[in-house]
């Protein structure tokens, strides 16, 4: 199980802040593709990703037990 976290507009689009994704291992890129297919979440192409609170690359692999956060362009300050 991989824990997915959604924020800001992505969270509103999903209608939830997190999701348990049943999977042993997957790349960020594949994960994004699956979110597009399953939820029509096309905005996901325009967000960064953090794995266990560290920014990650599209080709990085995530595995069961990881937390993947989708980080839309930030606007703090």
């Amino acid at each position: 199980m991989i824990r997915l976290l959604f924020f800001a507009d992505i969270q509103e689009k999903m209608g939830k802040s997190q999701l348990a994704y049943d999977c042993d291992s997957v790349t960020i890129r594949e994960l994004k593709e699956q979110l597009k297919t399953a939820y029509g979440l096309f905005e996901i192409d325009h967000v960064m990703t953090a794995v266990n609170e560290e920014y990650a690359m599209e080709e990085d692999m995530v595995k069961a037990g990881d937390t993947v956060a989708f980080i839309p362009p930030v606007s703090g300050g």
Binding site: M48, Y55, A69, P73, G76
Partner: protein
């Protein structure tokens, strides 16, 4: 008073407390930046804002900015507090305090910190207008996302 130098809070920020965190006998300057909620942006009137954060990661990214500042300006000490939740016009959203033996480093490091916050700290602002609301994306005009996506180089450096 909290002893953590980097904080995300959901209550009004006490500026004096943030300043006190960086006070030191060797400091000859304390530079304080106070970011406040603006009412008018490009002719559009904001009623209030809501900020959301990915809290644990936001704190660790603030700490990372602190480390970057220490590397670039070795004699500085910094403290940053960012508020989340609902903020009204003129409320304080962020306070950045930097102390240093001489003022130049404090000014420079302080500006560096706010620029980096706008790049890497997972905090999002939702603008509530009279006729609707929008999550604000990248507001750092000097670093647009040319391909429509953020640049991983900025967050990994």
């Amino acid at each position: 008073m909290s002893y953590s130098l980097y904080e995300i809070v959901d209550e009004p920020i006490n500026v004096e407390e943030v300043i006190q965190k960086v006070e030191r006998r060797e400091a000859g300057a304390i530079n304080t930046f106070i970011g406040t909620v603006r009412e008018w942006t490009s002719g559009k009137r904001t009623m209030y804002l809501t900020y959301q954060a990915y809290q644990p990661m936001a704190v660790s990214m603030l700490e990372k900015i602190g480390l970057e500042m220490e590397e670039k300006w070795p004699d500085t000490k910094a403290a940053i507090t960012h508020r989340i939740g609902r903020l009204d016009i003129s409320d304080i959203a962020v306070v950045i305090c930097v102390s240093s033996p001489h003022r130049k480093a404090a000014y420079e490091a302080n500006e560096y910190a706010i620029e980096r916050i706008k790049q890497i700290v997972p905090i999002w602002k939702k603008e509530h207008w009279e006729d609707g609301a929008t999550w604000i994306g990248d507001q750092l005009e000097k670093v647009p996302y040319p391909a429509g996506i953020p640049d991983i180089k900025d967050v990994k450096k």
